[in-house]
């Protein structure tokens, strides 16, 4: 006499497809009826055996992909080096709103008061520092330790890339990059990790925005930030960091 079954084989197969090949679901009551059915019905038992074998082989095949040897240490180093005051974390809209408020205010003042060109660059610098100071800080569009990938991303987004990079800076790991807008002009931010753990932010904007302005290439200090601007290959490059001027100077 055929043993009485509580569920059909098709129903049992449907449920058992979710049974993990490592056996971690053995105690889950959802599978109980289907597993009992498999002990009673040879056809279902054969199907389940084949299915588990298939699942185990797929898991084993996929496990052949090994992560890069440096990934584990890179993750730990990245976590350890993240200084809590400069994390690019959550709620980008809030931070972006802060930038827009600052930028809007600047645009308004430009239109209404006809500020001088030198004021314009000061306001650009202030807008960038305000953004870096905003809490929470904005998300980066791309998080990567690979400098080439940041510039590739910026190029894809039609944002200005860093036109020239000193060898010392090229060897630093990046944290990531972001595209931004100031006064209707797209510009970019690329962040590097200095050996001290501080970040070095590099803003790049088309030089034509500030075409008639003399740029002082001396470091300035504002609210704990050290910054300076340079004209490089048609771009205005602004370097900003909380690191000491001596440390920044080694890389730019």
């Amino acid at each position: 006499m055929k043993p009485r079954t509580e569920i059909s084989n098709e129903s049992a197969k449907f449920v058992l497809n979710a049974y993990r090949p490592n056996g971690a679901d053995a105690q889950d009551p959802v599978f109980r009826a289907a597993l009992e059915q498999a002990t009673r019905d040879p056809e279902l038992a054969a199907w389940f055996k084949e299915q588990r074998s298939f699942d185990s082989l797929i898991v084993a095949k996929l496990a052949e992909f090994q992560p890069p040897a440096t990934l584990y240490s890179a993750i730990l180093a990245g976590i350890a080096n993240r200084s809590p005051d400069l994390r690019f974390t959550i709620r980008p809209l809030l931070a972006l709103a802060a930038v827009l408020v600052v930028s809007g205010g600047i645009l308004f003042s430009l239109l209404m008061e006809g500020v001088s060109s030198s004021k314009m660059i000061e306001q650009y610098q202030t807008a960038n520092l305000t953004m870096l100071n905003s809490a929470p800080a904005p998300d980066l569009d791309l998080v990567t330790a690979n400098f080439s990938r940041t510039q590739q991303y910026l190029a894809e987004m039609k944002a200005p890339c860093i036109p020239f990079l000193p060898e010392a800076l090229r060897n630093l790991p990046t944290v990531g990059c972001k595209t931004l807008h100031w006064n209707g002009q797209k510009f970019s931010l690329t962040c590097f990790r200095l050996p001290s753990g501080e970040l070095l932010h590099v803003f790049v904007i088309d030089n034509r925005v500030f075409h008639s302005i003399n740029v002082e290439d001396q470091f300035k200090e504002m609210a704990g930030w050290h910054f300076k601007c340079e004209r490089i290959a048609g771009m205005l490059v602004m370097f900003v960091s909380r690191a000491s001027v001596a440390e920044i100077g080694k890389y730019i």
Binding site: A18, L62, E64, I79, T89
Partner: protein, 181 residues
């Protein structure tokens, strides 16, 4: 279970499986590398918000997928369409034929499973999350997870069977030497 996260232990335990999941999503080793790192950075930033440490694994896979989708939206200006084979019946595949298959072929086969079913299947094989955790991760009912696993696995078998058949067709028999009479 609720206590402070040991980040180093969490990284050590999950980084390899997260990397594989990232690789299956991105199909690119450099992007998988970045995505895995980014996921752990987000964990480090928000670790104080995680009250139940037993759910870290599910959180990591959910976050990685969300970050992948976020990046995908940024790149959506360059969409591409792929042909995906119609699947009728799940054929039986011999274990030996499957063992002989290259691991890359398996991940390629996963990529050809219909998107509706693919993520559930990828999470099943690459994360070893339970069906309940997959449901939580994808924000879908448990029954839907089972349905997607059932259909998705059928498709995966059919695609793999086709790949195995294609491989065997490539074996060219040696020609007889007609000059050696």
């Amino acid at each position: 279970m609720s206590h402070k996260l040991d980040l180093e232990a969490v990284v050590g335990r999950f980084y390899a499986s997260l990397y594989r999941f990232a690789l299956s999503l991105t199909k690119n080793e450099a992007e998988a590398n970045d995505l895995t790192q980014q996921t752990f950075f987000i964990l480090a930033q928000r670790s104080h918000q995680i009250r139940d440490t037993s759910k870290v694994k599910c959180w990591l896979f959910t976050t990685l997928r969300r970050e992948f989708l976020r990046a995908l939206r940024i790149q959506s200006s360059h969409p591409h369409v792929e042909f995906r084979p119609e699947v009728h019946d799940a054929p039986s595949i011999s274990a030996d034929a499957l063992r002989a298959l290259d691991a890359r072929a398996v991940i390629d086969a996963l990529d050809h499973v219909e998107p509706t079913y693919r993520t559930a299947v990828e999470l099943f094989y690459l994360s070893e999350l339970s069906y309940k955790e997959i449901a939580h991760s994808l924000d879908i009912p448990i029954g839907t997870v089972m349905s997607r696993l059932s259909r998705g696995k059928e498709q995966l078998k059919a695609i793999l069977a086709a790949a195995i058949s294609e491989n065997s067709d490539k074996i060219i028999p040696l020609k007889k030497d007609e000059t050696a009479h």
